[in-house]
């Protein structure tokens, strides 16, 4: 029974979020650090380099790392403030167990024993797959690898999935189909050489701020920028062509662009003929989307669409970028494919200045999806149902191939199985589904249905408040490891500090648990370096081949782009340079796409489209950034962006409360009345839980292939709410806002 062990406000007072403003040791601490540790930001997939200043085992400040080639010292506000999570008062410093009046600290032995006992009991009664595991895409790759191995060999469950399921999987599936490999095809330096840049569904300036610099520098040298987004974001503000697409109509719009390219013969016929398959089917598919039709569906002007297509078609070099805006759909994979079709039709890939990339959002969005914590994968981006892959990995792990469970359920499906009582126990690590999954009311009910829930985390997240056992884990800066950035560049995370108090490194927690579950012999790692060494072998020969990557080599080269199959291999910054793709036939595959409406289109009763996304000051479910004072101050609460036309209809002025209701729930937020959004669409940022959560409204509809939820569209109705109806922020009353 995983209801809350105490009233929520009591839990919040004790475990936060509290807002921290001043580093431990005061503002002066950073002027006299014990150590300066070059490392990377933990708050998005770009993984900006920065130097952490450490004093008395706490990160007390930072210094720009201008030599790191990706960001040259540039940072967004999350990066600048990330050190404030070190030594934070909310930090879990000991394992907790559920007690009659809230949580109670306990010993590691007791906590781990309880978890092992619960796993054994549930699995004995309901079968192995009745215990599931959810992990995170912000974890270093060693942890991600270990999580996959732990689920399969220690928990022996097929049901492990990760929160990259909410993030990267649509793009991954499309890339895999089209190119045979799932990675941004180019280093970002190719953006600088592009004559035309297409940005579809990416609020680049806020969600991947440093990428802005690449786009702006390309513009300095004359590049044209096309932005597809229902909101006029900062990157859209200066676009040469801005296509304010109606949410859920991207495929039609992109098909329309390809239609123009075909009509006006702006194609690379040689490339299509020699390097691809499936163009004819795509040609047929897009023939139904002449500009007028496509524009009509997409809610944009046909001339703009044509102009965009021509800019793209006439350029000699180009770069296509997309992100969750086109991926968070039941048609997410197809939307990505529609972008890839544009790239392939013009043959602009595998050359300097010609590229394609999906912008990963999570800290290790790329590396976290390559080495086996996805329900359908084994390390090295291997297919879990491929017998050869199973055999290879079984050998590395020292088990029989049959001992490796088969493909399991994806993240949302795991909750649906909990709802059906098929899954009874859950272990999560760095995943906050109560805030991050759609249809939050449903997720909360599922948590109540669990027989046992254990959360490994370093702050008590909204979801962890429901746990039976909470294991105090480690942050990014507390373990050495690797992460793969948005470019496919593998980088080195140096350990800057030790976990505080009795908190333990995540890898050690998993190894300790494995020991208790009788799989200790497979988890005798003394360091993450040893895990990396096993991972290197496990990935060898796979698509994501890390065999040639070591911490030292990364330091020497300022990162290594995978695949890197040998120790003396320099890595592969740009893919497909030899014209070969990683598909079975070596060719790139066009994928025909037909637009279809979203899962829940608007109607009389729910006439407005709701879309959701990020703001620059917060990261994912906000479990970290809502505890960092300056970031919280920058965006303290969610709001709903409404066009003045809609606001006038509703009779609300800027700042006034609005009730937003979908078929699943209802929330009240202050209106932010702006002309920078379509009048038929409203937007709410998603980093908050409780009554401030947009996911109370969102729909639990999944892409049939990638199983990504359709966060970007559901139907809502709006009405003016009573003054004072806006819920108060869920934040501890006493913020340690001390001065020194």
């Amino acid at each position: 029974m995983a209801d809350l062990p105490a009233p929520e406000n009591q839990i919040i007072e004790r475990f936060g979020p509290h807002a921290a403003y001043v580093p431990v040791g005061g503002w002066g601490a950073a002027s006299d650090p014990d150590r300066r540790v070059p490392s990377h930001c933990c708050f998005c997939g770009q993984q900006c380099g920065m130097i952490l200043l450490v004093k008395d085992n706490v990160i007390v400040g930072l210094e720009p790392w201008e030599e790191f080639p990706f960001n040259h010292g540039m940072l967004c506000p999350k990066g600048v403030n990330r050190y404030l999570q070190s030594g934070h008062p909310d930090r879990l410093r000991a394992p907790l167990v559920r007690a009659p009046n809230g949580f109670q600290e306990t010993t590691w032995d007791d906590a781990l024993d309880r978890v092992a006992r619960a796993v054994r009991q549930i699995q004995a009664e309901h079968g192995r797959d009745a215990f599931a595991m959810l992990s995170g895409a912000s974890l270093i790759t060693e942890k991600a690898y270990l999580a996959g191995k732990f689920a399969r060999l220690a928990l022996k469950t097929r049901n492990i999935d990760y929160n990259g399921r909410l993030c990267m999987v649509s793009a991954a599936a499309a890339s895999k189909k089209a190119f045979g490999i799932d990675r941004s095809a180019n280093p970002w330096s190719d953006i600088l050489l592009a004559e035309c840049i297409l940005i579809a569904g990416s609020n680049t300036a806020e969600c991947s701020p440093i990428t802005t610099d690449y786009v702006w520098r390309a513009r300095d040298s004359g590049a044209h920028v096309i932005v597809v987004d229902p909101r006029l974001t900062p990157i859209a503000r200066t676009a040469d062509v801005y296509l304010p697409v109606r949410p859920g109509r991207d495929a039609a719009l992109l098909n329309g662009m390809l239609h123009v390219l075909i009509q006006e013969d702006l194609l690379d016929h040689t490339f299509i003929r020699e390097r691809t398959t499936g163009f004819e089917q795509v040609k047929e598919a897009v023939s139904h989307y002449p500009p007028a039709v496509a524009a009509e569906i997409a809610g944009v002007h046909a001339e703009d669409l044509v102009r965009a297509a021509r800019l793209w078609g006439e350029a000699k070099t180009s770069f296509a970028l997309h992100a969750r805006g086109i991926e968070h759909h039941i048609q997410g994979v197809e939307n990505c494919a529609a972008v890839i079709n544009l790239v392939l039709a013009t043959g602009r890939i595998g050359r300097p200045g010609c590229g394609y990339g999906t912008i990963t959002g999570q800290g290790n969005g790329q590396g976290g999806r390559e080495h086996g914590q996805k329900c359908d994968q084994l390390p090295g981006m291997r297919d879990i149902e491929d017998p050869a892959a199973r055999e290879y990995i079984a050998r590395v792990w020292g088990v029989h191939p049959d001992e490796i469970p088969h493909q399991g359920l994806t993240a949302v499906e795991i909750f649906e199985a909990i709802d059906r009582s098929e899954i009874r126990g859950l272990l999560s690590i760095s995943f906050n589904p109560l805030v991050s999954l759609p249809d939050a009311g449903f997720i909360r009910n599922c948590l109540r249905k669990l027989d046992f829930y254990c959360a490994i985390d370093f702050f008590l997240s909204e979801t962890a408040r429901h746990a039976d056992v909470v294991l105090a884990g480690s942050t990014q800066e507390e373990e050495e490891g690797i992460v793969t950035s948005v470019e496919g560049r593998v980088i080195h995370i140096r350990q800057a500090v030790e976990p505080p108090g009795q908190a333990r490194q995540d890898t050690r927690i998993l190894c300790d648990l494995a020991e208790r579950l009788g799989a200790g012999d497979k988890f005798r790692f003394r360091s993450t370096r040893e895990i990396l060494d096993e991972l290197r072998v496990a990935s060898r020969g796979g698509l994501a081949d890390y065999y040639g990557i070591t911490y030292e080599k990364i330091d020497r080269q300022m990162g290594v782009f995978w695949p890197c199959p040998e120790l003396d291999h320099p890595g592969t910054p740009r893919l497909f340079e030899d014209g070969r793709f990683y598909t079975g036939d070596g060719r790139a595959h066009f994928i025909p796409v037909t637009w279809h409406p979203p899962a829940e289109d608007t109607d009389e009763e729910y006439p407005i489209v709701l879309t959701s996304g990020r703001v620059v000051a917060h990261y994912l479910s906000g479990n970290q950034t809502r505890r960092i004072g300056p970031l919280l101050d920058q965006t303290p609460n969610p709001y709903v962006e409404i066009h003045p036309q809609l606001a006038a209809q509703l009779g609300v002025a800027d700042g006034e409360p609005v009730r937003i209701t979908s078929r699943r729930g209802s929330i009240v937020l202050p209106a932010s009345v702006v002309t920078t959004i379509r009048p038929d669409t409203v937007f709410i940022p998603y980093h908050w839980g409780g009554r401030q959560s947009v996911n109370i409204l969102t729909i639990r509809a999944l892409d049939p292939v990638s199983k990504i939820p359709e966060y970007k569209i559901c139907a809502v109705k709006l009405e003016k709410a009573a003054a004072g109806a806006v819920p108060a922020a869920e934040i501890a009353s006493l913020s340690p806002r001390h001065h020194v």
Partner: protein
């Protein structure tokens, strides 16, 4: 000798991320207090934002109007923040600075302003805001590089009514502009000009 590094500002590039606002707090000469400005111009109408750092006037109005002689210029021409023993919190500088730079804080009863991270720039490091800014709306580097990479040119001559102010910091303007005239009248009558994107969205809003 290597080329000296200069400060360039280019508000058009700003994406409103506020990295500069947080980074300014890290500056050693005033760690814990951010003195940079980031203005949301008119959020209802546009997403455009603009930063403001001290322009480091050659003949600083702020220092001249200070009754307490609290604002000093370094040999490099950096106009420092108020000297703490001297500043009497009168706010003359706050109101007089033509760029709207100095900030007054009531509790310490003191003006604080951008000193171009003097602890850093005086030893060859780049200022915090201009290092982290992901759009290069704020940039600190060699002039030759800026001239080679960007369109337009750097300018450091401003006009406010009959007053011409020269500064150490440059703004990027189109070729052919030799004096940056603060256009207050247009500000009053029109506000932010509409961009291509604004018009595209407005057009589709009309269809709606």
């Amino acid at each position: 000798m290597s080329e000296p590094l200069e400060f360039f500002i280019d508000p058009m590039r700003c994406i409103g991320c506020q990295a500069c606002v947080s980074a300014c707090r890290e500056c050693g000469t005033h760690r814990g207090t951010s003195v940079i400005h980031l203005e949301v111009i008119d959020r209802m109408r546009t997403i455009q934002t603009t930063p403001m750092v001290c322009m480091h006037c050659v003949d600083p109005t702020c220092a001249e109007v200070c009754p307490a002689d609290a604002i000093k210029q370094t040999p490099e021409g950096v106009v420092l923040s108020s000297l703490k023993p001297r500043c009497i919190g009168c706010e003359n500088c706050v109101i007089a600075c033509p760029f709207g730079v100095p900030k007054y804080d009531a509790l310490p009863d003191q003006m604080m302003k951008c000193d171009q991270c003097y602890d850093r720039t005086s030893i060859g490091l780049r200022p915090w805001c201009a290092t982290v800014c992901p759009s290069r709306a704020l940039y600190f580097g060699p002039r030759s590089q800026v001239e080679a990479q960007r369109r337009g040119k750097p300018l450091n001559r401003f006009r406010f009514g009959n007053e011409v102010v020269e500064t150490k910091v440059n703004i990027i303007v189109p070729e052919g502009v030799d004096e940056f005239v603060f256009d207050v009248a247009a500000h009053i009558s029109e506000g932010m000009p509409h961009s291509v994107a604004d018009l595209a969205l407005a057009a589709s809003a009309e269809d709606h």
